[in-house]
């Protein structure tokens, strides 16, 4: 709000004085602080997930200012509310970049919100940090993806279920909410499973609408599919709110994790906070971070967070870690470039390496994705995840899936001289299409 107000003052002064004077007012304003845009929904359906990310950004900015700011200036957060309304995301992004002159924007949750702001960021040449796991098939010059690409979440999760530790699963239910992320992820998984020799009749794909709440038919279909004499697992890309009734129904119909485990990609500590997890012990989730990870960095992060939010019961989750990594990377890149000029920062970002919360370092790769460890966790009775498997090293985000015919020849490298987000290695040309 303060950002908006100062903009209005500026506009008024612009009306009264000459245009040249306005320039100097803005220049002086820019001298005092570096503005950081926060583009997360604070109302509407997505507020449940995104409000937390706004708060974590405010905390990170406050901490950076306590350390003396950036390039000798204070950071100033500009918070806007796109209200879970996808076109409004683009409008608010435009407002942040052209009116508030922010140096970078941190925001977005759903893929459709990201897609709606992409043209704005390339037109006005600014920087977006996108903190949520997504379906891949995209690499933009102005966007840095700090969440997981499918190969940093979905593929290792399926690998774990296929392994002996995971129960040597032979039959698969791909259950998802009906929108772009689950559909693309399931397309990749189906191709991957078939490449691993799983027969088509051993894969069941099902979609439900957003906010679906009557899971009886779906859960009994899963039960039925699972009684074919082969070890069965559910891979769930069910989004947000629909998860609670889904898990309640699983618990009530007595589907135990030992018999048919459910591996979820969108269920984190925050989602479990609204659930009695005792009947769900053993169901799984794949992320790059769990609150239960026992490292000094994570302990400090949780303590700082609970102090900042003044609530010692608030949980932390994976997208929060992604913002932590993304923000620290941006700070480092700006220091490296010595300026907040987007072109210079974008170039400086590649190769920047910062500590993550799971005891390692994450590095920004030339494809604007980062390296992360992949953790598989089982739900515990206290609503936390217990890590049962972890990739031995860091996994590099792969934007163009190798398992989809349309994208397997594409690579992305934003360094000169290639500077291309969809270079086709088969034709040797920049410009190829993915699946969406």
């Amino acid at each position: 709000m303060r950002g908006n107000f100062s903009t209005i003052t500026k506009m008024v002064s612009a009306g009264m004085v000459a245009a040249g004077l306005l320039m100097s007012v803005q220049a002086r304003a820019a001298d005092d602080t570096i503005k950081v845009g926060i583009l997360h929904s604070l109302s509407g359906t997505m507020a449940i997930s995104e409000t937390t990310l706004k708060d974590v950004m405010l905390m990170l900015i406050e901490q950076q200012n306590a350390k003396g700011g950036l390039l000798g200036k204070k950071l100033e957060a500009v918070v806007v509310d796109p209200a879970s309304n996808w076109p409004l995301f683009a409008e608010k992004a435009r407002e942040l970049i052209s009116k508030d002159k922010v140096a970078a924007v941190f925001g977005g949750w759903t893929s459709v919100s990201r897609k709606s702001v992409l043209p704005v960021f390339s037109e006005l040449n600014s920087i977006l940090f996108y903190p949520v796991q997504y379906e891949g098939e995209e690499s933009e010059r102005n966007v840095f993806y700090t969440g997981a690409a499918p190969n940093q979440q979905a593929i290792p999760a399926v690998d774990y279920l296929m392994s002996e530790d995971g129960g040597s699963v032979k039959r698969w239910v791909l259950e998802g909410t009906d929108y772009v992320y689950p559909r693309t992820t399931n397309k990749i998984l189906e191709a991957y499973l078939k490449a691993k020799g799983v027969a088509a009749e051993d894969i069941m794909v099902n979609y439900t609408p957003f906010g679906f709440s009557d899971w009886q038919t779906e859960v009994s279909a899963i039960k039925k599919f699972g009684s074919a004499g082969k070890k069965t697992a559910v891979v769930s890309t069910v989004n947000g709110d629909a998860n609670v009734p889904f898990y309640k129904e699983l618990g009530n119909q007595g589907i135990k994790a030992e018999d048919i485990p459910v591996m979820a990609f969108s269920v984190g500590e925050e989602e479990l906070a609204g659930l009695d997890t005792a009947p769900l012990v053993g169901h799984l989730a794949a992320w790059n971070y769990f609150e239960s990870v026992d490292t000094p960095e994570n302990k400090k992060f949780i303590a700082d967070w609970q102090k900042f939010i003044k609530n010692d019961k608030r949980t932390t989750n994976d997208p929060m870690e992604a913002h932590y990594i993304g923000f620290n990377m941006w700070v480092k890149a700006v220091e490296k470039a010595g300026t907040t000029d987007p072109d210079k920062v974008i170039d400086a970002m590649i190769g920047v390496s910062v500590p993550n919360l799971t005891g390692g370092y994450s590095t920004m790769m030339p494809n604007h994705h980062i390296t992360k460890p992949v953790l598989i966790g089982e739900i515990q009775a206290d609503g936390q995840f217990e890590t049962v498997s972890q990739t031995p090293g860091l996994v590099m985000g792969d934007e163009w899936s190798d398992y989809l015919p349309d994208s397997k020849d594409l690579i992305s490298d934003w360094r000169a001289p290639l500077s291309c987000g969809n270079f086709n290695v088969a034709t040797g040309k920049c410009g190829g299409k993915g699946t969406n």
């Binding site: 109302s43 995971g166 709440s213 009557d214 004499g229 082969k230 129904e249």
Partner: protein, 567 residues
Amino acid sequence: MAKTAKRPGEFLLQSARTQNSNSSGIAERMILLRALGLMLLFLLANLLPANAAEADLRAIIAKFAAAANFSATETVVRELAATGDPLVERPLAALAEGDLYVRKADSLVFVGREGGDSVELLDPLSGEKSGEAAKGDITKIKVNNTLRRVIRDALGTLTLRAKDPAVRIAAAATMFKTPDAANIEPLDAAIAAETDANVKALFEQARAASVLVSDRPEADKLAAISLIGARGDRDALSLLTSVEANSQGAVKDAATAASGNINSTLAFWDAGQNIWYGISLGSVLLLAAIGLAITFGVMGVINMAHGEMVMLGAYTTFVVQEVIRNSFPGLFDWSLVIALPLAFLVAALVGLAIERGVIRFLYGRPLETLLATWGVSLILQQAVRTIFGPTNQEVGNPSWMSGSFDVGQLAITWNRLWILVFSLCVFALLLYVMKRTPWGLQMRAVTANRRMAASMGIKTPWVDALTFALGSGIAGIAGVALSQIDNVSPNLGRGYIIDSFMVVVFGGVGNLWGTLVGAFSLGIVNKFLEPYAGAVLGKIVVLVLIILFIQKRPRGLFALKGRAVEA
């Protein structure tokens, strides 16, 4: 045991010494020494086995401390299970629950009971208290699904002779699901000793399952298949399908025939299941729509804030449960009963405020009412978001609403059953209020002809306000029930508003019976379409059907006749 074993020995040694000091001869001494040796041997033979067994068990349990990964832990679990000693049940069950810990200082293994910051340590075999430890001083032995399954199977074999029939039934169920040729012998013994006919039948089925995976002769296997085929549920089908895939000749044919039989019975049960799911979805729709049947149906107010009344009811349940959890944990099973009147009051008061503050100025202007109530719904949502935060709140299921029971091959969950009963009760109560009480009469009079009702001395503004409050209050108690199956978040109401309007319009505006029939028929149609069309397409098909139906009968299933229609 060790101490009592020592004492006779000491006594013997002492007597030997006294004898020795008397020294009445070498021969005597020899005899005595021999006797002493024999006695010791005898003691060892009698007393050590128990000790040795327990010591062995402890030695095996101690290996948990060194197990670095899941497969190492699994080896230890299998070793423990192989001892066949019923004592291992305690550590294994604790491990499956994630309650087995290793003390960092001395690598000893304990069963832990968490309480606040410290963990109470119990001996893994005897279960006796052996101290406390801070959480940082002990490490939990990790388990995963594979391990839990191994433990469950191991416990299955160990608990075949348990005193509690429920435990024996659980054991039979696990052994049926994970057949193993090695299970046949313990099962034979258990069958011979079993007195409960029910449990005995289950044991026999579990034995049959194990026979199928063993290398017993074909005749045995055929008998086993007919026994399992008679069981006729999904677990039996699952087992028979895998037998079908892994065998040849007569066994394969018998398995195919038996699984075919089960499939056709299950198809029959599937239809029953769809009807039950439809009724259950219908009851949820009825609950959500019944308040709207009053505010929209009877009063004609397009109330877009109806969903938020449901949400307020759900949040009231949450607050009640929070208070109970913190102050009166014993009352938790009663939380919903306590929440019902409170939810009614909260939602009714908010409804009353909305009617007095906004809607009464807008009667007869449906478009403005729609926009104003939409605004009110946004205000309520954001208010709740500000007070309680945007995240989901946990509303627990009381014990009588958790789990499920079987009717034939149909699993009926308790929460759905109670919601069905509850929705019918609410409906009956409402019908009674509308048809049999003076207040209901006034309500109907005002709706039928406002001016005439007014001239008869009815205070129409107050009847309006109270009717709206009643509709909102009913939505509030619907929220109590819906908190059991949906998530309690500020968006809760959004999911129900469209469905509620659909039910009321389809059933016929102004008619409670129409709402009842509308809710159940929409629920059943939806659930019959879902398995074939999928949830997304199913919903679209239902919407298209309703649009077509409304074209044909604009006033819904049960059209109200009379002046109310023109009003």
